[in-house]
């Protein structure tokens, strides 16, 4: 069969479809977005009636996936690493309920923070939940792990995590498909109380999870994703997890790698293989494209000197790995090639940070907001995550925070409670329905003196223009939550409306209660999106 040229993210989608998936549940987030988009655009997925519509946030996605699994079908939940923080309650408890139909939780980490606010390592969450984790080293493994992951999940009735990183998610290579499997029939769990986590039942379920753990290890021992490569030079042994294995091998394309290597693709760690490596080698180098989680496990509290990696400086403590860093850790780096940019060249290369598109409505809204706030002094604008976060950069310098999705409204409320009045929140439409609206209830219940600006562009802009769950609903949601309709004001952010916007903002900033102002104009990157344009017309939003 001809290989498909796929991004790592797409390979996971293809593997899951071929492996008999009935639904993918996700909220967009770089670098995980392409998994769901692939399913949405794939004819075979439509033919097979595979669910692929976006969820409002990662928690609702996780719970819907669990519901599909409850009903006996195979489901995959996808998110970026910080999305798992949002879904954590459902995720951790899904390990206690266990699954019925195969359940994959696919999480894309972002070491070096290419598009994120941190570089947390989702393997900690997998370990915390005490479930098996798969970590692909290549696009083919990404495919295979999604394909076989459902079977692993069904073998133990447990959700399985697939953890991968930006580099693999957004890198393309040839992938070979496996035979297309049927979807599961609808079958209820054989134990009717499996999903009822009342303490008495939860205690039993939890013991069951603990008892399964030996089985997880055994499965890891036999897994083809874990491999022990024998070596003759036992002064050093190497454990390479996921993508780090490729970076290691890149250094041995011309010479032979003589050290024993344990390649890890499935956790919990295959204990006997680890023991063998630790026993037969004088020292061990651990390569992980993330936090030093295995290194810490093996080094232990007493910091055994034999174990090297990110904790003892052999590798940098943070950031993404690459072939050069590993060459350095192995003392292979050769000096004959230039590997630094000469200073005189560095001096003329200007930084080119991302910026809001010319003509974006957020820009007009910020220009008005900056002017409206000039009477009050700086430091009172709490913002959120989206394209509008770029308003933190010059020339706008318009916002003072960006922490996690939804935090703008609640942080503004807390600051107002502390006496910072008025406090302003700036949030996007998609972020508002993701997790802004719950915070708005807190503010309404206490009539907090905050002004919430929901910059509505009809889409999830930052991640590439996915559907926004908020489309056409924002005013009704705010009214339903209890915001006084007189203080819900919509306007069009355009240069020609600048004075009008400033006036509205000044008035609402002076109001002693919750007001919601909604600059509303379509994201200019979506103007060719036919389906969206149709919806906008139907809903009369223009």
């Amino acid at each position: 069969m001809q290989k498909l040229l796929l991004l790592g993210a797409e390979a996971i989608a293809q593997g899951a479809i071929d492996g008999g998936m009935s639904g993918v549940y996700a909220y967009p987030g770089t670098p995980s977005t392409e998994i769901t988009e692939y399913v949405q655009q794939y004819d075979l997925a439509k033919e097979r009636n595979i669910h692929s519509q976006w969820s409002a946030n990662e928690k609702t996605a996780m719970e819907s996936g669990l519901g599909m699994s409850y009903a006996g079908k195979r489901a995959m939940v996808c998110m970026k690493h910080v999305g798992l923080n949002v879904a954590a309650d459902a995720f951790i408890n899904s390990a206690i309920t266990g699954s019925n139909g195969g359940l994959l939780v696919t999480v894309a980490d972002d070491p070096s923070m290419h598009s994120s606010q941190n570089e947390q390592d989702s393997r900690y969450y997998g370990k915390f939940a005490q479930i098996p984790i798969l970590e692909p080293a290549s696009q083919q493994e990404a495919y295979d792990m999604a394909y076989f992951g459902f079977q692993l999940s069904e073998k133990f009735n447990i959700p399985v995590m697939i953890r991968f990183t930006t580099r693999l998610a957004h890198s393309r290579a040839g992938v070979e498909r496996k035979p297309l499997l049927d979807q599961n029939e609808l079958v209820l769990p054989s134990n009717p109380t499996q999903f009822v986590l009342l303490p008495a039942i939860a205690r039993k379920q939890y013991k069951g999870l603990l008892n399964s753990f030996a089985g997880f290890i055994e499965d890891s021992e036999e897994s083809t994703f874990n491999h022990y490569y024998e070596g003759t030079d036992k002064k050093l042994g190497i454990i390479a997890c996921g993508l780090a294995y490729n970076y290691l091998m890149e250094n041995y394309t011309e010479t032979e790698l003589a050290h024993p290597v344990l390649k890890i693709g499935q956790y919990p760690m295959p204990r006997s293989k680890v023991e063998k490596l630790m026993e037969e080698c004088d020292e061990v180098l651990i390569l992980e494209d993330g936090y030093p989680i295995i290194e810490e496990l093996l080094k232990g509290y007493l910091a055994k000197e034999k174990v090297h990696g990110r904790l003892d400086g052999s590798l940098p403590r943070d950031g993404e790995l690459d072939p050069n860093l590993i060459a350095k850790a192995l003392k292979l780096a050769s000096e004959d090639e230039v590997t630094e940019i000469p200073q005189d060249v560095k001096d003329i290369i200007a930084n080119r940070p991302p910026a809001m598109c010319v003509g974006c409505g957020h820009i007009d809204a910020y220009n008005a907001l900056n002017e409206a706030l000039s009477d009050y002094g700086l430091g009172r604008v709490f913002s959120d995550i989206g394209c509008y976060t770029l308003g933190a950069l010059p020339p706008y310098n318009a916002i003072n925070s960006c922490v996690d999705m939804g935090a703008s409204i609640t942080m503004a409320k807390g600051a107002a409670d502390a006496g910072l009045v008025p406090a302003v929140s700036v949030i996007g439409d998609s972020t508002f329905t993701h997790s802004g609206m719950t915070g708005l209830i807190d503010a309404v219940n206490e009539s907090s003196p905050i002004t919430v600006m929901i910059s509505d562009n009809f889409t999830t802009g930052m991640t590439g223009g996915q559907d926004s769950a908020a489309l056409g609903k924002i005013e009704d949601i705010c009214k339903g939550i209890g915001v006084d309709p007189e203080h819900i004001i919509v306007f069009t952010p355009l240069k020609k409306n600048h004075d009008q916007m400033v006036e509205i903002m000044k008035k609402e900033l002076a109001y002693d209660g919750v007001s919601v102002i909604i600059p509303r104009r379509q994201c200019i990157q979506t103007t060719k999106n036919v389906a969206l344009n149709e919806r906008i017309r139907e809903l009369n939003l223009r």
Binding site: H114, H170, A173, D322, I341, A350, R352
Partner: protein, 192 residues
Amino acid sequence: MKTDIILAGVGGQGILSIAATIGMGALANNLHLKQAEVHGMSQRGGAVQSHFRLSSDPIASDLIPRGGCDIVLSVEPMESLRYIDFLKKDGWIITNSTPFVNIPNYPDVDEVIAKIKERKNVIILDADKIAKEIGSPRSSNIVALGAATPFIDIPFESFEEAIKLIFKKKGEKIINANIEALRAGRAVADAR
């Protein structure tokens, strides 16, 4: 055979079309390939790059090792310099000379070009101008690719076939414009 290429430019300049074209050409010739792209935040007008690896043998890393890159192919002059720590000493820089100025502190273009010329193997072409001359101003990325084709171990016809496939949905006119762009770029390299 092995060719490692860094594609450089600014978000929205069509680097991914270049990558897709080389990718198709590589597949047609049964070569192994890995191509790491940048998606997300930086696509909003930020600096973007793609690591493109081609080989007759299986490829290990998705990232090109620093100091091991054969070609930096850039659709913008300053961006070509951003990755020269990856380039081998005798590696090639092939770059468009028209700057993409979306920042207030863009350096003096002549100085940038002078720095590029300090390297041993360089092709600098005004891909924007060439694309305009052939009546296809949006194909300057493919002009730049054309100038790099002599250094990539894929027959020239395969690039043309790849363009036909990639722009299939956009119709005959766009396909022909891009093929012409590819040939115009190639001609610059050949006339060297």
